[in-house]
Amino acid sequence: MSGVVAAGAHQTGESVIFWVLAVASVAAALGMILVRKVVYSALLLAVVMLSLAVFYAVNEAPFLAFVQVIVYTGAVLMLFLFVVMVVGVSSTESMVETIRGQRVAAAVAGIAFVALLILGFGHATLPATTGLKDANAAGGNVLGLARLIFTKYVFAFEVTSALLITAALGAMVLAHRERITPKPTQRQLSEARIRSDRVSPLPPPGTYARHNAVDMPALLPDGTVSELSVSPVIARRRGGTHEDLHGELPEVAAKHEATTLRAVVERQVEVDSKVEEKEK
């Protein structure tokens, strides 16, 4: 940790770190708001947060750097990814504008806002950087922060605990779902199954020479595709073509597989009969 903090003392080392990570974090932030898929957005946000953690370390805030990695990149982003996993189905949004020209207007407003802020910073006279050597001297950064939290900011700290308990309760209440109907017993389930059209288990997905993915449908004896062999969840989510199917739909690929197999079997039968003739 002391090595990281010491890097703040060297101006050249700090500017190298700054320029590399500033470019990386701004690029990742821009990518985050421009990519279509939510998972990519979350991963790019992780890049921004990790580079901010390095900035904190360089700015003589080692405790915050670790909290940034543990709380933000560890907990908050995992929570985001977890929700993306649950919400997943509609996580790719359409990029059609609801209000015409909104995107251009937002970009112009953003550029104007940045220009305004940077102009403001340019006109402000910032005092010379004091550095945190004195503040961190007695026992280090963590002890200094603890001393402040439990004396000057102890009320805010206590209020924080109330906030965290409220947030935990609120999340539980919001995510809780009441069961409206009683849970079906095993007897009811089996009776319902006997009464339904299909008593046997559902057919498994198709297994072919080249493909055995779960979204490959099985073929019925007459060569048609069995809809029941693919889970409806997968069938609904399968937007278009398979990547390793060379631009074909799984149904078409399955039929090709079956045709190839049939041709191979027929040729084998032919060869076999010729061999039998020769033997005679």
Binding site: F18, V38, F55, V87, E93, F121, G131
Partner: protein, 98 residues
């Protein structure tokens, strides 16, 4: 060097703000809000170093705590809306519009 950090903080904050304006997926909008909070934290930390006191770092710490609580409740709300409307687009939750 403080000026550099402030400019970077301003740029990241604005990117987050533009993201809130142009995206319509509630989860991405939430991520953009997180980005804005992180950008302000960077400004706090560099100010703390400039003044030579730890108060800025304490404020950044409290911002992180509040942001964590906010994420938990916000994502629970997004899940609840998704359950009833089967969509996480902010355009679809418009019952209070008229």
């Amino acid at each position: 060097m403080t000026g550099h950090y402030l400019v970077l903080s301003a740029i990241l904050f604005t990117i987050g703000g533009v993201g809130v304006l142009i995206r319509r997926n509630a989860i991405v909008i939430f991520m953009c809000v997180e980005l804005m909070l992180n950008a302000t934290n960077l400004a706090f930390v560099s100010f703390s170093r400039m003044h030579g006191t730890l108060d800025g770092q304490i404020i950044a710490f409290f911002v992180m705590v509040v942001a964590a609580a906010e994420v938990v409740v916000g994502l629970a709300i997004i899940m609840a809306i998704f359950r009833s409307r089967k969509s996480s687009s902010v355009d679809d939750a418009n019952l209070l519009k008229y």
